[in-house]
């Protein structure tokens, strides 16, 4: 009996310890993230760094997002058309694509792709600065590393993500048109008139709001992982991986919460 009880106790302790360390980690990330709001309105403003990160995070994400945006719209149209036709609702395809993309797929897919590219990049970059004492060098130069490294990157993510999402939304809707045009030679004017008529302010607003929150999450989690890197280059790799995993999980979780809140405040939109 005693030999069977022993592992049960150790599993219990193991789970409890894991749960406790996870909660501690959540608490630390929350405190780390909230510091952003204390710093962002207080000088010195590192606008040069923000501009540099906007360029790094934004323009270098464009090629991947362009491909993903167009293909996402194409696939959505090609997959949905037969089902809609079966119910005689083929005419609603432009509206369906627009609503799906603007409300949900555009913000989430953009955020996940940017998280994969940017959050890991921030984690690795800040992490390697940590292990090579560059963060200490900033500190002894009387420059606040949080303000210089974290605030600038998080701000750049918050600014750039809505813009990238708008870009992906447009390309995905255009991709949907491309599929329609190739299959049925649909009219450009008719397609986009349907798209514009189907979208209301309450479809666009939550989508934009979401992207601001996603940008914040991507920046904060990447920077947190980098800032807390230890154990040399191995730690840098782990920081980059953890940044992507945590940022992606948080984006999906937050999306679920925002959908519920949107339904609560604006209705389901049907």
């Amino acid at each position: 009996m005693s030999t069977r009880e022993k592992p049960q106790i150790s599993y219990f302790h193991y789970t409890r310890q894991r749960l406790r360390s996870s909660m501690e980690e959540v608490y630390k990330i929350t405190v780390f993230g909230l510091r952003f709001f204390r710093y962002v309105f207080v000088p010195p403003y590192e606008m040069g760094q923000v501009r540099k990160h906007l360029d790094d995070l934004g323009s270098k994400s464009l090629p991947l997002l362009t491909v993903v945006g167009v293909i996402m719209g194409l696939i959505l149209a090609l997959q949905s058309r037969p089902t809609l036709d079966r119910f005689g609702a083929g005419a609603f395809l432009p509206a369906m694509i627009a609503l799906t993309i603007v409300r949900e797929l555009g913000p989430v897919i953009t955020a996940l792709i940017v998280a994969g590219r940017v959050s890991s990049g921030i984690g690795a970059e800040v992490g390697s600065m940590k292990v090579t004492e560059q963060i200490d060098a900033l500190e002894v130069s009387a420059v606040d590393p949080y303000n210089y490294l974290v605030v600038t990157r998080v701000l750049a993510c918050i600014i750039i993500l809505p813009l990238l999402t708008a870009y992906v939304d447009f390309l995905a809707i255009f991709g949907g048109f491309l599929a329609e045009w190739l299959s049925f030679n649909s009219s450009f004017q008719l397609y986009f008139t349907e798209v514009i008529q189907s979208l209301t302010f309450y479809d666009v607003l939550p989508g934009v709001g979401k992207t601001l929150a996603f940008g914040y999450i991507i920046g904060v989690i990447g920077a947190y992982q980098g800032f807390n890197t230890s154990r040399g280059t191995e730690g840098v790799g782990r920081a980059a991986t953890s940044a992507v995993v945590l940022a992606s999980l948080n984006i999906i979780f937050l999306d679920m919460v925002i959908i519920q809140l949107t339904f609560l405040f604006f209705g389901s939109g049907t």
Partner: protein, 247 residues
């Protein structure tokens, strides 16, 4: 500040990492214009002391006064004001790898002085001349050798003309000839600008060249201190062993 006044005063400093007590009541005083060296084996807490002096680490007990101001428990804003008078040379130079040599040297000037572009360029070129690396001005840190990185790190540390410079293993990882060149460079810059310094090293040749006063750190405390020749002639077994092994 009066010459020969105490610029750095460390009293009974204790620092532990979890259960590992690294510093166990360290006491030292560095006078204005003096170049003090802390010798000891690797991993014994030399860098911990240096980082505590500049406020990067926070000791649990004791007091550290730098230019008359208590560093332990100091607010960040005050600490940053004090740090403007301190240069720090990191073990692996810690050059900002996204900036080239020119930008690395410009960084402290742009952050903390009102110097115009011309003044900044002049100062950068002057620093590079002092360390003999004018040709490396547009290179990225990844393109520099270990010795070059140390020189640039040194140039960056003194570009604001600090009163105090802290050197963390300035010759570690270098061949003996380059190590000697770096030690002589440190000595010449300190004499030229009247810098007060603490150097952490296990390189006896470096200590011989630059030290006015040497502290031997072991088991969390300074076991002995004195001049180079005095310690070399010491009867203490640890100090003798240290000097003999190094020779």
């Amino acid at each position: 500040m009066q010459k020969n006044s105490i610029l750095i005063d460390v009293q009974n400093v204790w620092k532990a990492f979890d259960d590992n007590e690294v510093l166990k009541g360290i006491t030292m005083q560095v006078h204005d214009g003096s170049s003090d060296v802390i010798l000891g084996r690797s991993g014994i807490g030399k860098s911990v002391l240096l980082k505590s002096i500049v406020g990067l680490l926070h000791p649990e007990r004791g007091s550290i006064h730098v230019m008359g101001e208590q560093v332990i428990g100091m607010k960040n804003r005050d600490l940053n004001r004090l740090r403007k008078s301190i240069g720090y040379v990191f073990q692996y130079a810690a050059l900002y790898d996204s900036l080239n040599v020119r930008e690395n040297l410009e960084f402290p000037l742009r952050k903390h002085t009102d110097a115009d572009e011309e003044e900044i360029t002049d100062r950068v070129l002057e620093q590079l001349r002092l360390v003999g690396l004018e040709h490396a001005i547009d290179k990225m840190p990844s393109e520099l050798s270990g010795g070059m990185k140390k020189r640039i790190g040194l140039a960056r540390a003194i570009i604001k003309r600090p009163s105090i410079v802290l050197y963390d293993e300035p010759t570690a990882g270098l061949d003996p000839i380059t190590a000697r060149e770096i030690s002589e460079l440190i000595l010449s810059l300190e004499e030229q600008f009247g810098i007060t310094s603490i150097t952490v090293t296990h390189d006896l040749e470096c200590a011989r060249i630059i030290a006015n006063h040497i502290y031997i750190l072991d088991d969390g405390v300074f076991q002995h201190h004195g001049g180079y020749e005095e310690l070399k002639a010491s009867d203490d077994p640890y100090t003798r062993a240290f000097f003999q092994v190094a020779v």
